[in-house]
Symmetry: none
Subunit: 295 residues, 2 copies
DNA sequence: ACAACTTTGCAACATATGTTTCATATTAAT
DNA sequence: ATTAATATGAAACATATGTTGCAAAGTTGT
């Protein structure tokens, strides 16, 4: 496929023949190339979650004399990037390959900007408030229909790794309203909805509120119909240069919320995680060691 | 002229007050900033034609604790250039109101940086290649299990607005393999999977390939087991300061792909959209006039 | 010219680094 | 099931690193 001259390509090529620990080291090296040149080997090993010796072994495995050769390679790469900087800038200016390539670039840069904006104090405060409120809740019912299903599902999925605190209102049963049958005022409803707002989401949120539950919202505007019935809310921009609204900022918020919830109950999270791990392990859900062919 | 905040500027400002040897060291540092981060202090001193002690003295002279601070500064500079411009925003001092607030800030800024990185030429080219390949396909089968379900679902959902080109391999039926029953070599399988890779995704992808379908992948690494069986692939970073991997970049890629596909068939997309709109309208799925009332 | 002061080079120091060795754990083969 | 082979973790090792102390050289002021 690609040439085997560069060390990077060689590592990729030989990756499948490596032992698990070597793979872990190699993967970290591939994903953090500049760290190799900037951090000591022991530091790198620590960040990669690997023994120092493993880095030396990786070098030997690659047919090199020692780790210093690996560092030298990545140091040279950094030096070269500095030299070729002007050339690269030129290339970027002149390259107009596909007609859609600039659309892709614009979309990505705009998404990055939107997420950066979420990290400003006002937005941050709201996220924190939502996290605190979610933390107090006994149970979190999660609702997201249509496009927002993906965000709701992801939130629920991550939270199940942390325990059984969330219930996903999903499918014909859940969204029928009987999903909230056992909900009390100690529980909250986290609803994700953006314009155009699914009627069903509004109805369910209203029902939850009638029932005495606090409604917590991830939505796209201060004038979203959900704001009126929400105790706290976070806003996500959904602007996109396409025909559909972006959910990437909403997903980012969802992930941050999960992160905050986990960090507020660090010990519980850790324990729940180990349980989930064991469970999935026993079910053989994930590929652990990629089949190694013998030599 | 310029500010005294950056170490570089500080060295320039104090240059005239330095002793000859310190000046020589400082000059070398200013002219070879990268070397500071890439070479050991003794090596740097040798190249600068100065005693090792002089480098330490330079650090002390600049009011720093030791040489390590100088190296740290120049290492950070290198890292920042690599992480793109979004990383520059990370320079902002963290306002620390709540204990978790800086976690939220870090997560968001790092997500923004990761997405910015996707807009670099190499990554952009891969996205474009994937979009082109998807465009050629007669049908797109979409697969994403576990956490990646959210991305797969979202891709499928958006694409259904554009017509009936995609089929989501979902639920016990779809993932059983009979979902691919009617697939031919004119169809492709778009699989989303990140580490740890769901065994089932790998098996289905392998089956699809056996069947003559092209496998197209959104995954997290050049050494992902899916790369080997994929015709084209896009890489998304998943690094996160939490216990789980982020899917925000993956979702961003998914959205960009949808945008590109729509723009490549602008007329068809428009027509399909109008159909979808009419359909949902007739079902009264969305709230049109929102009854706003205060509580 | 002489003393007080600063700068510089050198060597010693404690520490951190990359490597190697060896015992244990894990995996594969018979 | 037992043995052989390999992979891993922990500690020991020699070396390189950043720092400090001190004496020689140089500079400045009187």
């Amino acid at each position: 496929m690609s040439q085997d001259n560069s060390l990077r390509d060689q590592i990729i090529a030989l990756y499948d023949e490596m032992s698990p620990q070597l793979q872990q080291a190699a993967r970290y090296v591939l994903e953090n190339p500049q760290e190799v040149a900037l951090v000591s080997m022991r530091g790198l090993a620590r960040n990669a979650g690997v023994q120092p010796a493993t880095m030396t072994r990786l070098a030997k495995f690659m047919g090199l004399a020692g780790y210093e050769d690996i560092r030298a390679y990545y140091a040279k790469a950094i030096r070269m990037r500095a030299d070729g900087f002007a050339a690269r800038a030129m290339e970027r200016e002149t390259t107009v390959p596909d007609q859609g390539s600039d659309l892709a670039q614009h979309m990505l840069q705009s998404l990055a900007a939107q997420i950066t904006k979420l990290s400003e104090p006002e937005s941050l405060a709201r996220i924190q408030a939502v996290a605190n409120r979610l933390n107090q809740a006994r149970r979190i019912y999660v609702l997201g229909l249509r496009s927002c299903h993906s965000v709701a599902w992801h939130f629920h999925y991550v939270m199940t790794l942390l325990g059984e605190k969330t219930i996903h209102l999903d499918g014909p049963a859940g969204t029928g309203g009987d999903g909230l049958l056992h909900a009390t005022d100690k529980d909250v409803l986290l609803v994700v909805s953006i314009s155009p707002y699914a009627l069903h989401s509004l109805e369910l949120a209203a029902a939850a509120r009638e029932q005495g539950m606090a409604v917590i919202t991830i939505t796209d505007s201060e004038v979203s119909p959900l704001i009126a019935i929400s105790e706290v809310a976070v806003l996500c921009s959904t602007e996109s240069q396409t025909f559909f609204h972006t959910l990437t900022p909403a997903l980012a918020i969802s992930e941050v919320l999960c992160g905050l919830l986990a960090s507020q109950d660090r010990l519980g999270a850790l324990e729940a995680l180990q349980n989930a791990d064991r469970h999935l392990q026993s079910l053989n859900t994930y590929a652990n060691n990629i089949p190694r062919r013998r030599i």
